[in-house]
Amino acid sequence: MGARKSIVALVIVLAILAIAPLGLPRFYTYLIALIVTTGLLSTSLNFVLGFGGIYQFHHAVFYGAGAYGAAIMIAKLGYSGWLGFVAGPLVAAALSFIIGLICVRLSKLYFGMLQISLGSLVWAIVYRWYGFTGGDDGIHGIPMPELVGSPLGAYYFALIVGGLSLLVMHRILNSPFGSTLQGIRDNAVRSQAVGVNVRRHQLAAIVIAGFFGGVAGVLFVVVDNSVFPDMMFWTLSLEITIMALLGGWLTFLGPMLGAAVIVCLRTFVSGFTDYWTLILGILLVLVILFLPEGLLGYVLEAWKRRTSESAEG
């Protein structure tokens, strides 16, 4: 699918979502906002994982950093909401720069294992620092600016900011920088040989992904008005990796689709059983065994095969 077509598809979906609250109960607008938030998080992960080939195993820590950055600015330091919303992603970007700088010298799995460990340190600090972060309770009832204070306002804010973030990431991936990044993923040695500074490009990609992970964190604060340490626990990082894998991590919109499927499944399955993680685990095994390209990847592949067949015939 060409770049223009995916943008058109994105705009159509956004238009449908924009009028959705008119006919839907409030619970569903909350659910959609949650999907957009989680989907943005998963897409920002896929920016480095699928397109950069970097084993970003602990991406949720930047989500948490964005959310906590905003929440602490607003609830603890008393700044205005809008300032907090800007601060969150910047905190996330700064943290991703520090962690990225330590990890980027290492190769694939080494990188991932070190990142998951360093991210866990951040989690442990947040979890224990009662005075500043609220410890394991987190921070609840964060006051919001009037415009996004209502559920409907939060919904539109999530939609607009989420959509804009996707557009920006899409533009970056189609820029020379994005091409270089994908070149590094496909063959790092050759990229190095033609004079690309591999480490610097990877670090830049990690910071961009961390920034948008932080934006997703801010959206969660707006939608839910709360933060808690589980937002940066390593299991969440792997859950959003599952979303990217399920949707198709070589496609741009795959992670969004995967997030939609998993968030909906979790919401409805949790009503019936306590064993949601068991179901998620089995689902993941099935995806790895039978659908390694992901849902969207599979559909695109089938579509391409059909068009090429009809072109021949």
Partner: protein
């Protein structure tokens, strides 16, 4: 001078000894992880879950044999074997089909198993925590530096080097170990000379998982056996393996030592954030030796 007298005070020395016995558990679990990493190149996230299952199994086995000293020894003997059997089934059923695939797929597969095992434990043992009673033989303590030091921790301090030596003998002195080291370097070549590589991988995987179960069984009498004990342990084991060098058994021992000591001293110095010290140690180690202290097999 102040620092030296602080470190030499009996309270601190005792804390170090307790920290060392925790190091033993960490080493046993991390060496299994490192073995699997070195040969199969999978960072097995489910390793922590197997440790947890080992601890819960120890609880059940020791109850079946009526607690006491028999119950304890049966638990230490049987629980890791049950865990190894479980991992053998998982390896033969699913993992062995995917060795050709990208490593990240295998990594995610181990996460799937961590999720499944976690909920299975909840299904079988419930969400409450369990305690394995300490057999009377291990109760009580020996006075060291004028302070009581629990006998069980002493037992652990003997177990650690024992496991290290046995593991070293298996890896370096048996034919199996030699083949697995060769397979770690060049899988295809080992296959080409007529060795069943898949079976070698299965054996290494099962031995590694046995060690996770053993760690769980040994730790059971001194902690509350509870859901979620896998989550923190696996991250600690990752750190240890990274610090020591992936796939290196002695590296795992060294890493566990550094981790255990910095942690136990860190908690003395700064109770709330003692956890920062082991991480700081890792960052320092990696800034000088990016691939760990000892030679990695990669």
């Amino acid at each position: 001078m102040d620092i030296i007298s602080f470190i030499c005070s009996p309270g601190v020395l005792c804390q170090v000894l307790v920290g060392l016995s925790r190091t033993v558990i960490l080493f046993i679990v991390a060496s299994g992880l490192s073995l699997i990493l070195g040969v199969l190149r999978i960072p097995n996230i489910a390793h922590g879950s197997l440790y947890m299952i080992g601890a819960f199994m120890a609880f059940t086995v020791s109850k079946v044999f009526g607690g006491g000293i028999t119950g304890y020894w049966m638990a230490v003997l049987l629980a890791p074997i049950i865990v190894a059997a479980l991992s053998f089934i998982a390896e033969r059923a699913i993992f062995c089909r995917l060795y050709e695939r990208e490593h990240i797929m295998l990594f995610l597969l181990t996460f799937a198993f961590a999720l499944i095992f976690g909920d299975l434990v909840k299904l079988v043992w419930g969400a409450e925590y369990r305690t394995v009673s300490m057999p009377r033989f291990f109760q009580g303590s020996i006075p060291i530096f004028g302070l009581p030091f629990p006998i069980y921790n002493f037992f652990l301090l003997i177990m650690g080097p024992l496991v290290a030596i046995v593991l070293w003998l298996i890896v370096n002195k048996t034919k199996m170990g030699k083949i697995s080291r060769a397979a770690a370097v060049d899988r295809e070549m080992v296959g080409a000379v007529g060795i069943n590589v898949s079976l070698v991988f299965a054996t290494v995987f099962v031995i590694g998982c046995y060690l996770a179960g053993l760690g769980g069984a040994l730790v059971a009498p001194i902690v509350n056996v509870t859901l979620g004990m896998d989550h923190t342990l696996i991250i600690e084991a990752f750190l240890i393996v990274i610090m020591g060098g992936l796939g290196n058994i002695w590296g795992a021992l060294l890493g566990a030592l550094i981790f255990g000591l910095t942690q136990s001293l860190g908690i003395l110095i700064w109770p709330q954030f003692g956890i920062i010290f082991p991480y700081a140690a890792v960052i320092v180690v990696l800034s000088f030796r990016p691939t760990g202290l000892l030679r990695s097999t990669w």
